[in-house]
Each structure stands twice: as structure tokens, then as C-alpha cells.
Amino acid sequence: MSRSERVYRALLLAYPKEFRREYGPQMEQAFGDLYEEAREPGGKSDIVRLWMLTIPDLTRTAVAQRIMPRADHEEVTMYDRRLAVVGALLLLAPLYFVTASLLKYGLGIGFLFDPLEAFLSEAGRRVVFNAVSPIVFLGGLSLALALNIYAVARLDVSREDGAIVSTVRIKLGSWNIAVAAISLMLLATLVGYVFLENFTYR
């Protein structure tokens, strides 16, 4: 291997690791071919010309490869984090209600439930709460669950050669998984409670 080829191989470190792994050997091979071609007819002047092509090419494309994929990746990550934040906000109210109820009726600890009970002691407030809370709790939890399942497992549907192709991309974002799991547990608790309260034989 010539000195130029060794230098080029070292300069490939300027590219991101994934790009280098995928295309590094081919780029080395292509540079080697260009080098062989430059070496034969014109001697050193053609090798200088090869480097004059290679250095701006390498600088420009290494920067592009480092900036562009990161921008895409960061955009998706930011979007997923926003979904986790929205999900977390949606499950705050049901989390409070379920925790307060379990502490009160399971362990007899009322510091969370008692203020709510005092607030709902007025008949008008209780009517509004009974009407709104199922929508807010179940709707909010369902939405939080759906948004964060979407962040973890995206379903893309495309059309290829006349056939519909669906692709599921899994991304194990810890915040999204946590919000989805908490939403699911709260939903199961609330739905279980509603079922037991309304459909069990007394």
C-alpha cells in the first residue's frame, strides 16, 4: 500500500463510524484505483492533482455526513421526547386519582384523597367531576398510551411494485416505554375498578 493510500485511510476517520463501516473499504478501493491511474502517466503532478480533488471532497462530504444524519436523528429524538412529556402530563391527573384512592381505601392513608374529597363535598362539583373525570382519565391515558407506543414502534405503510408494504420500526426510548407502561397500568386499574364496581354481583 502506498503512502497516499495509507494517508487516505487515516483521513477516513473524519467520517462518522457508521458511514465508514458501510463505505470505508469501498472508498479506499476507489481511491486506490484513482491513485494507480494517477501514478502511471504523469508522475507526481497527477498525484498532486488527485489530492487536490480528494481533500476538498473529503472535507465537504465528511462534514455533511456528520451533520445531516445527526440532524435527522436529533429531530426524531426531540419529537419522541415531546411525546413522552405530553404523555406524562396526560397521566398526571389519573395518576393522582388512582394513587390517592389506593392509599385511602387500601392503606387508610388519606393525605392525598382527603383534599379531593373535601373539594368534591359540594354537590355541583361532584356532578361535574363524575361527568368529566371518565373522559379526562380514560381519554388522557388512552392518548398517552397511543402516543408513546407510536414513539416506540412506528408503523410505516408504503406501496412497492403495486403491493402495500408495512414496516414496523422499533425504537426503545426509555421515557416513552415508561410513560406507556404507567398509562397501561393506570388504564387497567381504572377499567378494572369500573368493571368491578358496575358488573359484579352484590
Partner: protein
């Protein structure tokens, strides 16, 4: 990108083959460096314009590191549409006598 699609329009080629074809066809005016070539190849593979070929059509220059690429049907349609668009531009330039000498006799606005 169009240069690469045109280079692959008639046969499968590896990276260096694409470079040589582009340089030869443009009489040395366009020289692709390895970074530009493989950056474009990465994007074109993702967009479905080209695909990797399992065949080794150039055994004389064979090497395990070499990968061959071919144009897809979609890539062919994109190249055709782009060539059509450029052709319309050339026609307009020719009609407005911007292409020195060639087709200067074409009626204005044609």
C-alpha cells in the same frame, strides 16, 4: 445524482466504474471524489433510486471490497423525468438563441 443514474442506465458498475464513466462522458469536466460518490450512493440507496447487485459483472477488476450497483425502475423513471426537464430548458435556451450557433435558426418562442 443524475450523473450516477446515467452511468448506471446501461450497465451495473462499481464505484470506480461510475467515476470513470462520469469523467469520460463529461470529457473530464465532472470528476466525482470518493466522498461525493459514496455520499450520493448512500442517499440514492435510501431513496430506492439504485440498488446493490449480487452479480460481479467485471471479474477482471474483482475484489471483495467492490460492490456493484444498478439502477432501479424508479431510478430510471426519475432519471427520465429529470432528463425531460433539462431537455425543455435546453429547448428554451436554444429558442432564445442562448446556445451559441446550434439551433440558432429555431423560431423565437418555439
Amino acid at each position: 445524482m443524475l450523473h450516477i443514474l446515467l452511468a448506471l442506465a446501461d450497465e451495473e458498475r462499481h464505484g470506480y466504474g461510475i467515476m470513470r464513466e462520469v469523467e469520460g462522458r463529461t470529457r473530464g469536466q465532472t470528476r466525482l471524489g470518493p466522498g461525493t460518490l459514496y455520499g450520493s450512493i448512500k442517499r440514492m440507496l435510501a431513496d430506492g433510486l439504485i440498488e446493490e447487485s449480487d452479480e460481479r459483472p467485471d471479474p477482471a477488476m474483482d475484489d471483495q471490497r467492490r460492490r456493484y450497483y444498478r439502477i432501479t425502475d424508479f431510478g430510471r423513471r426519475v432519471a427520465g423525468a429529470e432528463a425531460e426537464r433539462l431537455s425543455c430548458l435546453v429547448e428554451t435556451a436554444r429558442a432564445r438563441k442562448l446556445l451559441g450557433g446550434r439551433g440558432a435558426s429555431a423560431p423565437e418562442g418555439a
